[in-house]
């Protein structure tokens, strides 16, 4: 019986340590063993090791070795791998302001390394009838930021008996991000809306609250793909002599649809659905359209 037990104790680890190459998620600290190969070898071993005592030792040693080698993944040890495995600065968000309207759009894919846990995650926060926020970056920080913002909006509304204006909301978001200067919200926000005068404006933020009022801004993984298009088509940058045309709401939405479609082709983290919020003096209208699911 002892010999069976020893056999089991030796059999288990040797099977569990079968080397296999498994594609790793970027930045994950799991070992090179795959969960599938490990479980296959354990099951195979269980078929061969019959005696109950041997089986017991076999299973114990498998568990021990699996824990050691981290075949089923190991909890990330450092802060950075936590961010990378658990977040992704996935998704693309953008805001384009027109003369008397603003359009804020975001894709809805949640990417985690090479996986897609969800296709329909909303990253848009409708702050008031005139102000909409969209955030890219880490999902957890985005949710907390939105929760906190909602609370601040309610407080403001109750204290001042009116909704927050675009300029007030933009400054508040900047200050909120800066209070976390040394432990930032890993979010890249864009804010869009209509100010008190009825003009449409967009604000782009960095992670700690540096903000700027612009006509068109894009953040997230598709930023480098879409921002140049917006610079060219909305802001007419470096086009000396070309007439600056104010796009209508429909033309802007068409442009945004085209931009997302093309970004979805070239960026793995952009795709699935796009939520488009159109802010006019009549309020916020949400439209959704579908991108490729690949």
């Amino acid at each position: 019986m002892l010999s069976e037990g020893t056999l089991g104790a030796v059999w288990g680890p040797s099977l569990a340590v079968l080397p296999t190459r498994v594609p790793r998620e970027p930045g994950c600290t799991a070992s090179g063993l795959g969960p599938i190969s490990t479980s296959t070898s354990i099951l195979t071993g269980l078929c061969f090791v019959r005696a109950p005592r041997a089986r017991f030792w076999f299973i114990v040693s498998c568990v021990y070795v699996v824990g050691l080698t981290g075949a089923f993944g190991r909890p990330p040890v450092s802060g950075s791998s936590l961010l990378l495995c658990g977040s992704g600065s996935c998704r693309t968000v953008l805001a384009v302001a027109g003369k008397d309207f603003c359009v804020v759009a975001s894709d809805t894919r949640l990417g985690l390394g090479y996986s897609i846990p969800s296709r329909k995650v909303s990253r848009i926060l409708k702050m008031t009838d005139k102000v909409v926020l969209a955030s890219s970056g880490m999902q957890a920080d985005m949710m907390t930021l939105h929760k906190t913002l909602r609370m601040r909006l309610v407080k403001y509304q109750q204290n001042h008996q009116k909704d927050m204006s675009l300029t007030a909301a933009s400054q508040m978001l900047s200050n909120m991000l800066y209070t976390r200067r040394f432990f930032p919200y890993y979010t890249f926000n864009v804010l869009g809306g209509i100010d008190e005068k009825g003009e449409g404006w967009a604000y782009g933020y960095d992670a700690i609250g540096s903000h700027e009022k612009v006509s068109a801004v894009c953040s997230g993984t598709g930023q480098t793909l879409i921002q140049p298009v917006l610079d060219n088509q909305i802001e007419f940058k470096q086009q000396w002599g070309a007439p600056k045309v104010d796009l209508s709401l429909e033309a802007t939405v068409e442009l945004i649809r085209d931009a997302f479609t093309s970004a979805g082709e070239r960026d793995i983290y952009t795709g699935d659905y796009v939520e488009i919020c159109k802010i006019t003096k009549d309020g916020v209208e949400v439209e959704e359209f579908q991108l490729k699911f690949d």
Partner: protein, 322 residues
Amino acid sequence: MASGPSLDFLSTSFSLSRVDDARLTPLQEGTSSAIALPLVDRPANFLRDAFAGAAEKDRLHFAHGTTTLAFVFQGGIIAAVDSRASMGQYVGSGTVKKIIEINPYLLGTMAGGAADCSFWERDLGRRCRLYQLRNKQRISVAAASKLLANTVYGYKGMGLSMGTMIMGWDVSGPHLHYVDSEGTRLKGNKFSVGSGSTYAYGVLDAGYSWDMGVEDAIHLARRSIYHATHRDAASGGVINVYHVKEEGWVKISSDDMMIIHEQVKAEKKAVDDAAEAVEGAAASGAETVAAVGSAADPTAAQDTGDASAASRGDVPPPASST
């Protein structure tokens, strides 16, 4: 109790909070105005350590500003800045307002971290206003810059990145102070801050004199920033120029650097043509004039450096010229 000037304005309302026992929930923290610190052993190192092993593309990049300059002369203070904010390799914005209007008689510039500069200079504006309300007189530039320097000194070593110039005209004349996130505070007549500052200093030092006229001073400032944007990859965009006078500051111009590029090129060409004409008249022989004149035409389309060198005769004209 309120016999002397009130010193309440010295108290920092943005305090560092290290609440170990009474832990605030994220929502509570989000609504307080305290600057939150990560609850780790060494909060100052957290941000650096968190991204220590990360790939470049995953690191948190903050917007950084880059070439600014200011100098005092007989007509007041001129401040000129570029407008590029880089986030790592990406140009976050090409239209950043790096001159921060603290109040109608105080200006601050932004170099280093954009969020740090704009937040703390806005806080400075608030405290200057409080001083003015409590003491019924405007705060001096020296006191304002000292307030800022003392505030950021409290966060020394924690990763703030800020190199700013506080300038204004108070009862004792125009003053310019340089303040940075290390706690340095210097009074001077000429400063340039940022990654392109070395280029700007070269042009600025060469052309500066106390007795310059206002137009010359503005022209010099604009050209200095232009040369910095030309050679520094992290500077660019629009060149903003402000003038601080006794009555307060006034915005002079906001020109895309390519427009200034064309102006500088035209000026150089005019100078070189004039020099050529002098040389041509001094040198004997029509062939020399013809050779230099025809060499100047094909090289005019090249980099301005080469063109001027060729037409000055430092570099021999191309052998294939007609």
